[in-house]
């Protein structure tokens, strides 16, 4: 089933960490297995922020050796980044197995991420000037508390509560999906793509790598590929309505935009609230009510509809 949500403040920033936590917690019944946040901070002009993990949450419970392995993997990441000339300016350990680095780098970003990913057990969760992607097992409150997301200020965010149906209950299979290795593009999706493998092979022939076997990742890569080739986000989303097959409602975020698209069957829900300075959307209205307890006007976007908002 899964629950998806998005919000964007236009012309200002706010505590999007707390807002998205409240939204996702109210729809945790749609997916209790894992929760993910893609938060867009106020932006680092010349620097990147990278979130990565050195083990799965479940791995940490399995024995004593894993703790030494995690330390070794973290050392390997540091060595490889230094080898590439990456200058890490800030380092935070979010959990025992997850880190947040801020760094300066003017080299080949794809090569750098590939080199880090090549270390066994290490996965880059997100990378960009504004995007910070956090996902882990458990409900929104648990993940938000674990990663201290309350008080995170930014312009826009998307989130996901996952009910695992076709892949494992682990961080790698959790949403949102970052469009590896493109800056700042993330997607959450409710539905199923039936032409996933065909389109994935098409993307792979263009040189894109996939980090999971989840169909939602395809949407992120598909849109990032289009943007990378000079296409506008909204145009790529309209095209996706025709080219992606299946039932889907997805929400996408880039460095300064939030968008939603619904397939022509309109079989997956979405409720939308829009005002001049704020937009919130979610699988269920209760998520919007979690941050707007007063009476507001909401509506369902229609079949084949695409909307994009700028921060």
């Amino acid at each position: 089933m899964c629950g998806i949500a998005g919000l964007i403040h236009r012309g200002t920033n706010a505590d999007i960490g707390s807002e998205m936590t409240a939204m996702l917690q109210s729809i945790k019944h749609r997916g209790p297995d894992s929760t993910g946040f893609a938060l867009y901070g106020t932006g680092l002009q010349d620097q990147y922020v990278m979130r990565f993990k050195v083990a799965e949450q479940e791995d940490v419970k399995k024995g004593f050796r894993i703790h030494d392995e995690m330390k070794a993997r973290k050392r390997a990441v540091d060595e490889r980044l230094a080898e590439l000339g990456v200058e890490v300016t800030s380092e935070e350990q979010a959990t025992e197995y997850a880190y947040r680095y801020v760094f300066s780098f003017d080299g080949d970003l794809r090569r750098a991420t590939d080199y880090v990913e090549d270390i066994e057990g290490v996965e880059t969760i997100s990378l960009g000037h504004a995007l910070e992607l956090v996902k882990d097992l458990g409900d929104a409150t648990r993940v938000s508390t674990q990663y201290e997301l309350g008080g995170f200020r930014g312009t826009h965010a998307i989130g996901h509560t996952r009910m695992a149906t076709e892949s494992d209950v682990d961080i790698r299979s959790a949403h949102p999906y970052w469009a590896y290795p493109f800056n700042d593009v993330a997607v959450v999706h409710n539905g199923q793509l039936t032409n996933y493998w065909g389109m994935r092979r098409e993307m792979e022939r263009r040189g894109h790598r996939f980090m999971s076997n989840c169909d939602s990742e395809l949407i992120a890569v598909y849109l990032a590929d289009a943007i990378d080739r000079g296409e506008e986000l909204e145009g790529a989303m309209w095209r996706s309505i025709d080219e992606l097959d299946g039932v889907f409602t997805y929400v996408v975020a880039t460095g300064d935009r939030l968008g939603m698209a619904k397939d022509v069957m309109a079989a997956k829900p979405m409720v939308l609230y829009e005002s001049d300075d704020f937009v919130a959307l979610a699988s269920e209205e209760v998520a919007i009510r979690a941050i707007f307890p007063e009476e507001i006007d909401t509506y369902d976007p229609y079949e084949g509809e695409v909307r994009v908002w700028q921060s």
Partner: protein
């Protein structure tokens, strides 16, 4: 417009007038036996006794249990404040009752009801009044998809816009939409009437067996076996009377609405083999 050719007591009452002709129609009880219109365990309520519930801190089950307790105490008018778009509120009420929701409902609101008159000042989520059997449900704002799915009777009215698959599998009653509807509205409709004052999405009335759909705006596309029929005076009079009850009117006049019915070539209306049916369709 075709001439009015049929009048009757039910028409005078503003009720539906269609002849029930389906193969599976069966009469289970005599309408003269008044006791059959009331459930054996129905509560004797007084509409003049009014009370309120604040749902802000209650879950859906607690709100529904509270409604039942209040009906048992004889309250006939109940106002629910702060429903907060919670799911499954006001379901399974098999009783006379005036029920007001001051706010919005989530999914499955007022499903499986038989008898109450419900007014909702906000919006409703997916599957509002699913399997409703009698009574009225009036929503002041918008509604989600699958609005009035498998509706069996009563009036379901949304004054705003409604999502996709409105009235899917409806088996009776009336659905009125003040704005537009999404795709596949009236999908597999079997009986009853749907009135859409605005535009209708693609595949309107797809695979409908029977029933009537009236559209005041543009139709993006008809579904399989849905065909346009001629409006007659009976249609226009019924529409005007029904819409007036809810303070609505057709934008171009009731007589200028488009009437959609089943072509009756798709399901159970012939003895053709599937291969022969392909030739016909």
């Amino acid at each position: 417009m075709a001439e009015l050719d049929r009048e009757g007591a039910s028409f005078e009452m503003g009720m539906h007038t269609e002849q029930l002709s389906g193969r599976t129609q069966q009469v289970y009880f005599s309408p003269e036996e008044a006791e059959n219109f009331t459930y054996p365990e129905a509560f004797d309520v007084d509409f003049n006794r009014r009370t309120e519930i604040d749902a802000a801190e209650l879950d859906s089950g607690a709100v529904n249990r509270k409604l039942r307790e209040l009906m048992e105490q004889g309250y006939g008018t109940i106002v629910v404040k702060n429903p907060g778009a919670k799911h499954s509120l006001g379901v399974g009420i098999l009783n006379r009752l005036q029920l007001y929701f001051e706010g919005s409902l989530g999914y499955f609101g007022c499903g499986l009801i038989d008898g109450p008159n419900v007014r909702i000042s906000g919006r409703v989520g997916w599957s509002c009044a699913e399997n409703m059997m009698a009574g009225t449900v009036v929503i002041e704002k918008n509604a989600g998809s699958v609005f009035g799915a498998a509706l069996r009777g009563g009036d379901l009215v949304c004054k705003g816009d409604v999502g996709s698959r409105t009235g899917i599998d409806m088996k009776g009653g009336t659905i009125i939409v003040g704005g537009r509807t999404g795709a596949f509205s009236g999908f597999m409709m079997q009986r009853g009437r749907m009135v859409i004052l605005g535009d209708a999405g693609v595949n309107l009335g797809d695979s409908m067996y029977d029933g009537t759909i009236y559209v005041g705006g543009k139709i993006a596309g008809l579904g399989v076996d849905a065909v346009e029929a001629e409006m007659n005076a009976l249609d226009a009079q019924w529409l005007e009377r029904k819409l007036r009850l809810y303070g609505l009117e057709a934008p171009r006049g009731a007589a200028n609405m488009t009437k959609i019915v089943a072509g009756k070539k798709l399901w159970n209306y012939d003895n053709l083999e599937p291969t022969e049916k392909k030739l016909v369709l």
